[in-house]
Amino acid sequence: MQELRERGHSEARRIATNFFTTTMYLFGQEKQGEDLFNSTEATFLENYAQAKDNITEVGEQEIIESIGKLYPEYLLLFDRLRAADRETPSEFYLNTVKPHLDETKKECRNLLRINQNAMLRAEKQARRRSDYAIYSSISVLALVIIFGLLFGFKISRFIIRPLHRFILATREIGDGRLDYAVQEESQDEIGLLAQEFNKMASRLREYQAMNLERLIAEQKKTSVIVDTIDDCIIVASPDNRITLLNPAAENAFGIREDLAKGKHFLEVVNDERLLSLVKKTAEIGQGPAAEEVEKPLVVRRGDTEQAFRIRINPLKTETGKMIGTVTVLQDITHLREVDRLKSDFVSAVSHEFRTPLTSMLMAMGLLLEKTPGEINEKQKELLEATKEDVERLTHLVNNLLDLSRIESGKLGIDIAPIDPVQIAKVSVDLLRKQIDEKGVELVFDIQGLPSLVDADADKIGWVVSNIVGNALRYTESGGKITLGVTQKGERVHISVQDTGPGIPKEYQDKIFEKFFQVKRKGVVGARGAGIGLAISKEIVRAHGGSIWVESEEGKGSKFIFTLPVSKQRIGKDTVNE
């Protein structure tokens, strides 16, 4: 196109140059004009030939042909002009050459116009093509994008959607809906995955069914045990509402399980103490201590009275979350009756023992006093041995009776504010002679100024002398017994420490049981009836205190019991403060 435009311009220039040559010639510069003519004629002819060879536009052919006709005529006219008279060239020129030249110029301009038009057209066409190229590019790009999106969407439908189904299925199965299945739509990897997934769910279902069966069997077993057991079982929620009541409990408390469920504990078992124990268990997640449940629960229904031993356990999940309490009430009515009969028997027996013991003890005494007459040394020895055993028997009978009375609650405790140090000192005064005779050192260890205690002076005195008596029995000559009194908070601790053989660990709890004796090899003689500590324990407990032993074999034992600080004293102190 550029070439075409240049060519058009050069043709026009040649023709213009020729016109200038003519004009120069006209105005007297013949030589110059002729030189210029000669030089431009060649260029014109060359350009004309080029234009003639390069006819591209409609009408261009006619114009070229017209110029081709006009040019020889012009040459002829130019020759005629050269040959014409010097005085008339302008006239010739104006009348002949110029019209011819104008026509030639006109044709040249036509050629130029045609070519320019062609150029414009070409440019327009080029622009159109370029626009077309841009539009087609955009269209192709848009198509590519649309196809890309469609393809992506298709891909996503193909891969993501099945994945979504799996996520949903996994969630459902995770939530326990094991009958959920994934559709097996295709035979590809997704389809295979779906098959395996469904297999897995089916195995889980089988496993669950198996577990469920086992669980049901376990539950059945437990429920049969709970139903058949004679003990009352009461299961309560953490907020003390009944969740289970076994038949024994239904009978004991006269309420059906279905009616009791959801009711408050107190509505079913009307006992504040039991409720407070259950509450505490639910709160601290730990069953009550042995002392707290030592006193049985007594339930009265009409004329009958039932006694239950209390056991309470927290119900926890494996993670330790409290889900309730289990209260087991063991019917000990019968046991209590047996116990009462035993106490009555012990009481009767010990009573019946007293009369013959009186005549025996008196007879021994009288013989030793030589009331009936003189006795020799050997007779005296025998009588003394017999008297000693009669005294031991008397002691046992007295203790047995005391114990049965304490156990049946008949031994009255006469509580008054008393000085524990005073009791301790008075109690050992009775044993002073024996202590000195055995060659044992007695030391008092009084810490500070212990408060008064609420206690029965006689009974506590008995406890102290019993424990000191035991210590004396087991302490060798040269040993030491330490009697301590110290206050710890609202309790006064009275302790008796000896340097005896100590008590093996396995016996330390049992020594407070009736008739229990620590069996020792090679130790003969030094033993009591095994009842003093049982009585001591009962007495201390009746005071609201506790008794225990700390002992290490070979190093000695330390018996400690506690008594509550007198309330009157506390009251006074509070007022004073």
Binding site: H351, E352, R354, T355, P356, L357, T358, S359, M360, L361, M362, A363, G365, L366, E369, T371, P372, V390, T394, N398, L401, R405, K410, L411, G412
Partner: protein, 122 residues
Amino acid sequence: MSKKVLVVEDIKNIIMVIRMALEARGYQVMVAQDGVTAMQEVFSFKPDLILLDLVIPKLDGFMVLEGLKKDEKTKDIPVVVVSAKAAEEDIKRAKELGADEYLVKPFTPEELAEVVGRVAGQ
């Protein structure tokens, strides 16, 4: 003049040892083996002290004690209850009825002599 002790007791072995112990210490002893006899002997023997068992035939020890302490003529005679009953309620009841002392069986001759001596000497 020796003091007179009425022993109200039904078991012969006990009667024997008590009599021996007291007589050895210079007391004059009279025995009544039941409650009714005891009430009669109080008036005929006129004891300075009565040793009274609670479980005796015909009239039990408590009734005898009550009768003695209600009667103006006998209420000042000291009574020592001698019993195998060691229950506190029995001791309390006897004391309330006017017993001067309560000696629980078994006891030694010294213990008996000490109590009798102390009460009779008052």
